[in-house]
Symmetry: C3
Subunit: 139 residues, 3 copies
């Protein structure tokens, strides 16, 4: 049993630029040499979120639309009233989805479905360079 | 320290047929012989989700109702426009809840509350046979 | 490789009294002696949730407001119709956020962002004393 960590960065271009990070996570797994265990994917920061998605152009419109419907940017946010940083909605959205995902690792492979990708859903307003931490534990 | 994996399947009867999978997860834990560690429950596929719930008939109506209120089936989804598969809402719902849950294992038991069960919340439209992966790590 | 568990309690004062539990989780990590691995934070019970947040007064108003907007207390909940306990909305809210969070542990520290705290979001109506389970696995 051992534990390995691989860190990589992702550059977003704009608000809600959802990124498929499955290739980087898979590469981290290969590099680790661990074949059986758990893979934790985590984004530090309170306006980033990690989940899974069928990564195709339709959903890349549907997810931002749902976020805007549930947590409209135009509402009054006390976070913004205090800090004037214009991203109260980003914080609330990220807290609902969460920054952490754990995926089983079996025979050297993530046990994702065929049309299931690991995505970074960056809720912040400006383009960001995000650090992603992959922690792999097993044997 | 060791890692064990048990896979089982669950058959749903219809859309949003929420299934209590605690018995199968507990049995997997017993079978593993591991008594102290972490239990990861994961559903492969981008229209399934795992969370916890007090598994009683009232909430089995309240949860589908909340999902329909927040992500109505009748809205336009670009996923559906592209693929004509009628489940754009299923994908969006599943991405918000997530496919992964990790529960502590202490003295051979999941540390769930008394009225807290692990549930598969299948968001897809047709009845499905779902594979659930349980990964147990510890000693 | 080893596994350690630390349990602590948190007292809430009222519904949606969101508590920063990062100090207690960090102390648990220090006490464990584990420096590299995964830290699982779990709340037993079906009306509690764990996520991360920038813990500042603005968001402590914005998050409850979003929960009330998405899952209004005044709606009809079948859970309440059956049990008359007035917390159908609490159960639904908790199931959406989830009771579990896993954070990487690197060089003895949680890899949280600078303005990212681990919070207990207690959805139940009365003040509660909540047990939080921290499971640390690694080396």
């Amino acid at each position: 049993m051992t534990v390995k960590e691989i860190v990589f960065t992702v550059q977003t271009a704009h608000e809600l630029d959802i990124k498929d990070i499955t290739p980087q996570v898979s590469q981290a797994v290969s590099k680790s040499g661990i074949r059986d265990g758990m893979v934790l994917v985590f984004v530090p920061g309170s306006t980033g979120a990690i989940t899974t998605l069928e990564y195709e152009p339709g959903l890349l419109e549907d997810i931002p639309r749902a976020l805007e419907r549930l947590f409209p940017k135009g509402l009054r946010y006390e976070h913004h009233e205090r800090w004037q940083d214009g991203n109260g909605h980003s914080h609330v959205r990220a807290a609902f989805i969460g920054p952490s995902l754990t995926v089983p690792l079996s025979n050297g492979r993530l046990t994702l479905g065929t049309w299931q990708q690991i995505v970074l859903c960056d809720m912040d307003v400006p383009a960001r360079e995000r650090k992603i931490i992959v922690k792999i534990m097993g044997e």
